[in-house]
Structures are given as structure tokens and as C-alpha cells.
Amino acid sequence: MSVRDLKGSGRHWVLAGCLAWLAFSLFPLYWVAITSFKSPVDVVGGPTYLPFVDFQPTLTAWRDLFSGIRGEFFSNFWSSTIVALSSAVIATTIGSMAAYSLVRFTFRVRLLSGVAFFVIAMGGYLLGRDVFGVSPALASIVSFCLALALSIFVNRFRLPGPVLGNDDIVFWFVSQRLFPPIVVAFALFLLYTEMGKFGFRMTDTYFGLTLAYVAFSLPIVIWLMRDFIASLPLDVEEAAMVDNVPTWRIFFGIVLPMSKPGLIATFVITLAFVWNEFLFALFLTNSKWQTLPILVAGQNSQRGDEWWAISAAALVAIIPMVLIAGLLGRMMRSGLLTGAVK
């Protein structure tokens, strides 16, 4: 019992408040769960609350869902699963690699070379398209590569202006979260479409969607993993360095296993983010790789008031996340996420 614990009669009021919040939090989930077992008559006849007492549960909605008459349910479920798992794995891997290098090594980027990238990329694109008359896809690929190569080259010189260090690079990554995704979603859709005309199909493909999700999960991954890795003890790594173990083996053999709890937490958070994501899936897919949130949102306009069907579809999207919440809750109890907050 610490000094900060509650004392006296206040405890009951606080408990009552928590219970009220619990009811508020759980009621919608309870409601969607029971609605998926209702028959149409029980839905239209007004609200009913208790299975077997108020209404007789049926499996109709679930049978309809699994038999596939409610749209391409299985296909959506699989594309959601595959895309979420692989983008979470890829983002966690390359994100923690980046986080590791940002913790253990020094990087110097001159602000001017960043500006150079911006100017060359935009100018090259405009020039290529309007002056030389090449297709937008070609113009953007060429200007992107050119801008990248030139800005790396320029970075070698002693340019005037501020030099950015590791913290600024981390800030650069994290600041991506500030941008409204719609800004990029449209442009990405256009770029993907142009790529399609050029021969690489990007819209509605596994590759295109996963790539977008990896890019938008990376800021969170780097932000979380940087703190985890920075809190690891250094002596093991130093001992390995004395034995001349190459850096990539130190990373994969020592650092990653040591930061396993952090990796799991980051992976789970990324997985949840990608699984629930709506905007990019809406823009970048249309049939084959459509994900569950799109299917669920589509139920709304297609089915009107067929709540039993809508609820079953919504539950399929919700249940995996409920399992993940349990996992996250357990990790939080062990104090795992405390480090990530600083």
C-alpha cells in the first residue's frame, strides 16, 4: 500500500465511475456480438439484449457470411491478413535496423542536400513532363533517382548551412505522422496509376499496398524501437566487437534477441495499425487486394438495415484485434510499454 493509493469513502465513487466507463466501453462490443446472432425479426422488432431470454440466437448471418453470398469475404480476409502480417514484419525489421543504426552510429546530413533533393525532384518532374514531354511516370522515376543521386553526392561537400544529426533524422521520420495521409494517398494513387500505364502494375496489388503500409508504419517503428534499443546494455555488444564480430551479426544475433519484448510490442502495434487502416486501402485497391475495412464499410451502403449481416462482417474485423488487445494488456502489466513513452 503506497501513499498514493485511494483512501476512505472516495474509493467507492471511483469504483462506480470505472464500472460506468467499463459499461460504456464494452456495451458496443457486446451489442455487435449479440446482433450477429439475431434473426431479422429480432432486429426490426426493436432492441433486444439477452440471448435465449429476449431472442432466440441463430447462425444465419454467420452461415451467409461463410458461404460467400455476402461478397468476397474470404478473399478480403486473406488479403487483410497477408498484407497486415507482411507489412508489420517488414516494417519492424527495416525500422529496427534503422533505429539501431541511429542509436549506435553518427549520421550527418547537410540541410542543403535535403533542399537539393526537393528542388531537383520537383523541378525534374515538372521539366520532364512539360518541357521534354515524357510521360509522368518516366518523369517521376527519373527525377526521383536523379534527385537522390545528386543529393547524396552533394552531401559529400562542405556546404554552408546547418548540419543535421541523428536526432533530426529521427524527427524527420516521426514528422511523417504529422502529414494528413490524404495528401499522400491521392498522389500515391496517381503515381501508381502512371506506373501501371508504364508496365508495372501497382494499384490493387500486394506489392503496392504493402509498400505503402511499410512506409507509413516506419515512423512509429523507429520511434518505439529507438528507445528500446537505447535502453539496452552496451557491454555485450562491446564484448562482441572485441572479438571482431561483424556489425550485422551483432545486430541479428545479439541486439534483436535482446530487444524481443520491444519487438513484439512494436510488431503488434504496427499490425493493429495496418489491419484497421482504411484510407490507403480505399485508394490503392479495388478488387483483388481489397482489405476487410473496405468490405465492412461497403456493407453499410449495400445492406442498409440488415444489421445481423453487418454485425457478423464487423466482428470478423474486430475479433483478431480483441485477441491482440489481450496480448497488449499483458505486456503492459509487465511494464513493457513504460519505456516507450519517454
Partner: protein, 291 residues
């Protein structure tokens, strides 16, 4: 400690390349488009128009309406989320009975797919068949227009946001509260400081930096809101619940007016940036005071 090894570039570059190609380059591409008159339907050749799109946008009454709606939803819901989230986190850290159980279950809403949440909310808020209507009918108000009247619809959206995102605030503030040192409270106890004084004198100031960060994250995220609105009201009735992201989506995908949409996205980005700067400027003296 830092050391030198050329292999560091192989560790950093994959992440940088992906972000550059998928997040930064489209941004530049979009900025270039915002100075063009670009339409897909009917397809007209792109033409450089300078700031025309921006001027047209800033004169658009609908745009300002949308900015007001989005700010209203974001600020109101985050303020309420913060108050609720802080109280609940305090209750949990003060070991209310069953704290361990609450801690896990309170997290749930945060992880539920927003479009699914919106669909469930639509059922609960249904003016004739929903459970909420049954409760309000008991008090004599039946068939309230939860999603069809402008003010009620805004309120409903804010309620859904609160339901979904208060857990995020609880999660982070709880971690912060657990990190506060006990000895300050022991000293306060010796001085006979009341719980109320302890909260305003110790807990709140010490939690200010993390609170500021959490509120900031939530406001920035709330400004992006689209999926809940898309499903629950579709921006209606009329355009009274249309948010910035939804407006951009409508302009781009219904009217295919891409130059205009790109300009809109950039003004949106600019609004978020300005807002962040103002927020940080207001907060800075307080943060330094309690450092």
C-alpha cells in the same frame, strides 16, 4: 556511444528509401500538381496556373465550413478524452479495486477497426430500432435525430471518437503516472496536503510534459479523421459533418479535380503545421517552468 562502420548505411537506407519514395516523393509530386489545372474527367491537358487553385480554395465558403467542423470535432473530442482519460488513469494508478482487469479491458476500443466502430455506432444510434432510443424514450425523448440533424450528428461523431481514443490517453498517461516518484507524495502527506492540493501541486505539473505530448498526438490524429465520418454520416446532413479529409476525397474522387485537391491537401497540411506551432508556442513557457 557511437562508432564508425560503413555498414551503418545498409542499416539506415532501406527505411529512408521507402519513406522517401512512398511518403516524400508523392508529397513533392502533389505539390507540383497543386500549381496545375489538372482534371481526369473530362481529361484536359495539364496547364500551369500558379496560385489559382489556392486562391479559389481560400475563397470557397465550403472549405472554411469544413475547417470549422474538423477543428470542432478534433478539439472538443480531444479535450473530453483528456479529462476522462486522466481521471481514469488516476483511478487505475491509485489501485481502484479490479485495476488489473480494467487496465486490459479499457484498452479494447482503441484496437477496434474504426469502420466497424462506426457501423456499430450507427446501429446503437438508430432513431427507431436502437437501444439508445429505448433509453431516451424511457425519459420521454423518442426518435432523436442522432445522425440526421447537424448538431446531433456532430455530437455523435465526437462521442464515437471519445469511445475509441480515450484508451490511448489512458495507456500513455498511466505509464507516465507510474513513473512519478513516491517520495514527493510522502512529503506532501506529512504536510497534510489534501488530495486536491496534491493533484494540482504535484501530479498535474509533473505530468504536464507527457500530457502535452499526448494531447498533441491526439489532435494531429483527429484532424485526419475520415473513416468514421465516411461510414456514419457520409459528411451529412448536407455538408455539416464533412471533415477536411472527406472533403478532399469528395473533390478528388467524385469530381476528379486533381489540381484543386492537391492544393487542398497542402492547405490542410499547412493548417496542421500552423496549429502545431501555435500549440507548442503556447505550451513552451509552462513546460520550461516545470522542467
Amino acid at each position: 556511444m557511437t562508432r564508425e562502420d560503413p555498414v551503418k548505411h545498409f542499416f539506415l537506407w532501406p527505411a529512408v528509401l521507402v519513406v522517401l519514395a512512398i511518403a516524400i516523393f508523392p508529397l513533392i509530386f502533389s505539390l507540383a500538381n497543386s500549381f496545375m489545372s489538372l482534371r481526369l474527367v473530362p481529361p484536359i491537358p495539364a496547364r500551369f496556373v500558379g496560385f489559382d487553385n489556392y486562391i479559389k480554395l481560400l475563397g470557397d465558403e465550403r472549405f472554411w465550413q469544413v475547417v470549422r467542423t474538423t477543428s470542432l470535432i478534433a478539439f472538443t473530442s480531444v479535450a473530453l478524452q483528456f479529462v476522462l482519460g486522466f481521471s481514469i488513469a488516476l483511478a487505475l494508478v491509485k489501485k481502484v479495486k479490479g485495476a488489473d482487469f480494467f487496465r486490459v479491458t479499457f484498452l479494447l476500443p482503441m484496437l477496434v477497426t474504426p469502420v466497424a466502430v462506426a457501423l456499430v455506432a450507427k446501429q446503437i444510434l438508430n432513431p427507431t430500432m436502437g437501444p439508445l432510443n429505448q433509453i431516451t424514450s424511457f425519459f420521454g425523448f423518442s426518435n432523436l435525430p442522432y445522425l440526421t440533424d447537424a448538431n446531433w450528428a456532430l455530437g455523435s461523431l465526437i462521442a464515437v471518437e471519445i469511445w475509441q481514443w480515450t484508451p490511448f490517453i489512458i495507456l500513455l498517461l498511466l505509464a507516465g503516472l507510474q513513473g512519478l516518484p513516491d517520495d514527493v507524495y510522502e512529503a506532501a502527506e506529512l504536510e497534510n496536503a489534501s488530495p486536491w492540493q496534491q493533484f494540482w501541486g504535484i501530479t498535474f505539473p509533473m505530468m504536464l510534459p507527457i500530457s502535452a505530448a499526448v494531447v498533441f498526438i491526439r489532435i494531429v490524429e483527429s484532424f485526419k479523421i475520415i473513416d468514421t465520418v465516411f461510414v456514419m454520416t457520409g459528411g451529412g446532413p448536407g455538408i455539416s459533418t464533412e471533415t477536411l479529409s472527406l472533403f478532399a476525397y469528395q473533390e478528388g474522387f467524385k469530381k476528379f479535380n486533381l489540381g484543386y485537391t492537391s492544393a487542398l491537401s497542402f492547405v490542410f497540411l499547412f493548417v496542421v503545421l500552423i496549429m502545431s506551432l501555435i500549440y507548442l508556442a503556447i505550451l513552451k513557457p509552462y513546460l520550461e517552468k516545470y522542467k
